[in-house]
Amino acid sequence: MQVFKLCLRIFYKNKLLMLIYVIVFLTISIIMSYSITNELQTGTSFSPAKTTVAFINEESTPLIDGFKEELARVADFADIPDEPEALQDALYFRQVSCILRIPKGFTDKFMNGENVQIEKISIPNSIKNVHVELCIDKYFNTARFYVQGTGSISQHELVQHIKNDLAENAYVEIKTREKSANTNLLNFFYNYLAYSLSSVIILGMSTLMLVFNNPDLKMRNSCSPLSSTSANLQFILAVLLFTFTSWLIMVTLCFTINYKDSFSVNTVFFMLSSLVFAFCCSGIGFLVGNLVKSQDAIVAVANVASLGMSFISGVFVPQELLGNQVLKIASFTPAYWYVKANNSIARLTQFTFDTLKPVLGDLIIIFGFGAAFFSVSLAIRKMKES
């Protein structure tokens, strides 16, 4: 088992380089698992979405106070000083979705029936603004209704009236299909795995290939009494072991971080798809190792390949947010099909052949990619030898 042992030693020697990607994966995962869980909305009762706004009030009157109280039902107020830079920063970094300013003299003019407006600085065409605007219009149109309808009304009476009116609300009911496992977080992790797994496997595989492709070493090996079949088999065994181990480490990490959500049938399929993807990555690594001649170049190619795939295939940015053109290009990379398969797995609630069909189709494509990479590499080797 000399060849097998040699392979393992080469992998072991390069552990630091590969460890970087595992650590990056771990760090991002931990950060994400904290930030995502806050956003997840579960449960069967309806909770209105809230918008964060900066509310700058240049006057304090019962009307405006009443308005602020109403607005508080749909908006959280961010505490931001009334300085242009601070406000603009908050808007740019989406800490608030709009800045509302009640100009001085608003109430007086409003009560006199004059035309007044609240000043709003916002992110153009954002959905949250549509909502805030709807709420503002709702409040002041109801108020105007009383002001004009009664002819004379005090602010306190007005606010009281509006309060009574606004107490009556639509009844909201939530209907879902049977309750599914909480797969959003898992889906994110397994998608993100594409980046780390491909980095580690491509780097490891191509480094190994580089060593074995060294002409001197090759000549020495071919005159050894070990049969080439045995040498190749040992080599394949080592590669399989490496791929499987890398996959196992990553999946274990996923499992440890999300142990709460991991006990579902979906997880089994996530694991299956990532295993097929790992096989495909080792194919890419094999190809890169056959094409590239130096260690420096390997690091460059591995980075570009894994980052490139991940960016356009929806690993870092969800596929829904990518342009159609981009997705079309991405469909020529295995990562696209991997992410697509994972997204379908996340939505699964029933596991029958019919519901699993699209997932299996994607997995076959990923496997096909892997097989293609291996065969192209073998063809190149053959060509080089002859």
């Binding site: 989406r94 954002s126 949250k128 709702k138 002041f140 109801t142 009664t150 009116d165 209907k175 940015v317």
Partner: protein, 378 residues
């Protein structure tokens, strides 16, 4: 003498394919990937008409007011909804297939059926609430002042827009740009690869080339300066190629102040170069360790400048502004950001000033370490 050293150094550096890749090609590839991945990112927060359904029951057919309100909200270019009127079962089916975000059953109170909580669902609810509140206000008013009923219809039908959109600055708050700003800042600091090599190639105990250079009858500082000049020229050219690619090919908006943008790139490039030189001077070990330290420091600084997550930059600038001033990549990113987003130049200049201090410090530090080094035996 200058011309001789300079020309050969230029040739020598240009053949360093690895450095060219990391300082030019890699940023270009990354910029392209950013462009592909992020160009649609804001579509998630953009508003488009919400698909809803109304159950076609008797109450709905009778309720002319609600029909009218819904009609008004679902026509025109800036409409809120795309409405389809369907049977109860059909509405259920559409909701389950995610064809609609919710459906309305006219009853009292009006009912809304959705499949999850979210912004779109909340907007539908607010719309219905709005209708119900108006209805409630009308009944209150009618009971209090029945004599003004005719007037009421007029007031009711003339809804007024109480919001006026004012713009904060001349530039849109397009937060995708910040990814590119931090990327170009990072690329400036990748100039450290060149600076690192210059210092390694002048210290005779670190590299063989340096040993040879030290035996030549040229003053060491002169060699270093001429060589550095070649490196800086290469890195500056790379930076301008990068900038041109971002502006002309990817159409990234750097604002109107082109001269200042060029100035920022120039200072950033120098800062990056001397940053690498400084690290190379203090870490007197083999190449791998130097590169490792430089790349990790750059990555950490880039992370805190917000390239991976923009909120980080905001949190730091609000909670620990000093930290932002101590991070040269954050200073650079912020300089581009201030140029693009602010109408005034105060923040830009304060960023550039601190960056200049950093550059001067790296430069002096490097000089103090490498000057007058003599070797007893080579």
């Amino acid at each position: 003498m200058f011309l001789h050293i300079f020309t050969y150094r230029l040739k020598c550096l240009l053949r360093n394919r690895e450095n060219i890749f990391w300082t030019l090609l890699f940023p270009l590839i990354l910029a392209t990937l950013f462009y592909f991945a992020f160009s649609n990112l804001n579509s998630a927060e953009a508003f488009s008409a919400i698909d809803i359904a109304v159950v076609d029951n008797e109450q709905y057919r009778k309720d002319e007011n609600f029909k009218a309100a819904l009609e008004k909200a679902s026509t025109g270019n800036d409409r809120l909804f795309n409405v389809s009127v369907v049977s109860g079962e059909k509405a259920d089916e559409m909701l389950m297939n995610s064809e609609i975000d919710g459906y309305i059953i006219v009853d009292w109170p009006i009912r809304l059926v959705v499949s999850k909580s979210g912004m779109k669902q909340t907007i539908i609810k607010t719309f219905i609430d709005n209708y119900m509140h108006t209805f409630s206000a009308v009944s209150t008013l009618m009971s209090e002042t029945p004599d003004k009923i005719q007037n009421l219809a007029y007031i009711l039908n003339n809804r007024i827009n109480y919001v006026r959109e004012v713009s904060g600055t001349t530039s849109e708050p397009n937060n995708i740009l910040l990814y590119f700003f931090s990327l170009i800042a990072m690329t400036c600091f990748y100039g450290g690869f060149w600076g690192m090599r210059e210092v390694s190639d002048i210290q005779a105990d670190i590299s063989a080339v340096a040993a040879r250079v030290n035996t030549a009858p040229v003053h060491k500082l002169k060699t270093f300066l001429y060589n550095s000049f070649a490196s800086v020229i290469i890195h500056l050219s790379e930076m301008f190629i990068m900038l041109a690619y971002l502006v002309f090919v990817l159409d990234i908006d750097f604002g109107q102040k082109s001269f200042y943008v060029l100035l920022t790139v120039f200072i950033g490039s120098l800062a990056g170069f001397y940053f690498g030189a400084f690290i190379s001077a203090i870490v007197r070990k083999q190449e791998g360790l130097k590169v490792g330290i430089m790349v990790s420091v750059t990555m950490i600084c880039t992370f805190f400048a917000g390239m991976m997550n923009q909120d980080i930059k905001y949190i730091i600038s609000r909670k620990a502004p000093l930290l932002a001033y101590l991070n040269p990549i954050s200073l650079l990113t912020d300089a581009f950001y201030a140029l693009y987003y602010y109408d005034t130049l105060t923040r830009f200049f304060s960023n550039i000033a601190v960056l200049a201090v950093f550059t001067a410090a790296f430069c002096t530090g490097t000089y103090l370490i490498i000057r007058r080094q003599k070797y007893a035996s080579l």
